[in-house]
Symmetry: C2
Subunit: 126 residues, 2 copies
């Protein structure tokens, strides 16, 4: 049987959350205020991919990192300066970003409103 | 190297599209007006999953179908009546729907504005 998580609020701005989805935060002070919501994954029954929503406050950023798996990103609100390898690009609501496996990446929230984006990743192996 | 597809329009309503992404339509008259945009997939380098955006005009619907692969869906605009097996549920902007593999499903656009949603699926095998 499928699963529905209803959004607790009705716009994309601010931290609203979803029913039965716990927002996760990071202990790293550089990532203060960043929240990750695991919307669809193993818990819902999905074995091939995970769908997450990240919210980053104005002036904040996601982890600056590289790893073997790639990311499929859709910006839902706010603005971002995206690092992709040695390049940076400015993106905004509606833009789509593909982060290659092994590529250094970081999303900085450069707008006055929080940055929010969907980030898809393949499921954990094994 | 990663890829960015910039959205051609700046809101989620209406049919706006993305740079370098061709909207696909369906020959089936029952699916008139439905547009699919393959945002991230093999063409961008993603091998584990595909990220698509579907737009459904008011009164329209997606294919009523079942298949082995599952779907991860995030509603971005509009309203939908979602069929999941023998049940139907009303959902709206921000709601998240997981469609299990093998489950009958259909998204009917029930609002005054077009329905738009992200739909993630695992990559085609082989």
């Amino acid at each position: 049987m499928g699963v529905i998580h209803r959004r607790s609020g009705r716009d994309w701005e601010g931290v609203k959350g979803w029913e039965n989805v716990r927002a996760q935060q990071y202990p790293d002070p550089a990532l203060a205020g960043v929240r990750k919501h695991e919307l669809i994954g193993e818990q819902e029954g999905a074995r091939g991919y995970r769908v997450r929503y990240f919210q980053v406050p104005p002036g904040g950023r996601t982890a600056r990192e590289r790893h073997p798996h790639d990311h499929g990103v859709v910006i839902l609100c706010g603005r971002a300066r995206v690092t992709l390898g040695e390049e940076t690009k400015d993106v905004e609501e509606g833009d789509v970003v593909y982060v290659e496996g092994g590529e250094l990446h970081c999303f900085e929230s450069t707008g006055a409103e929080p940055l929010g984006f969907i980030c898809v990743v393949q499921a954990r192996p094994g």
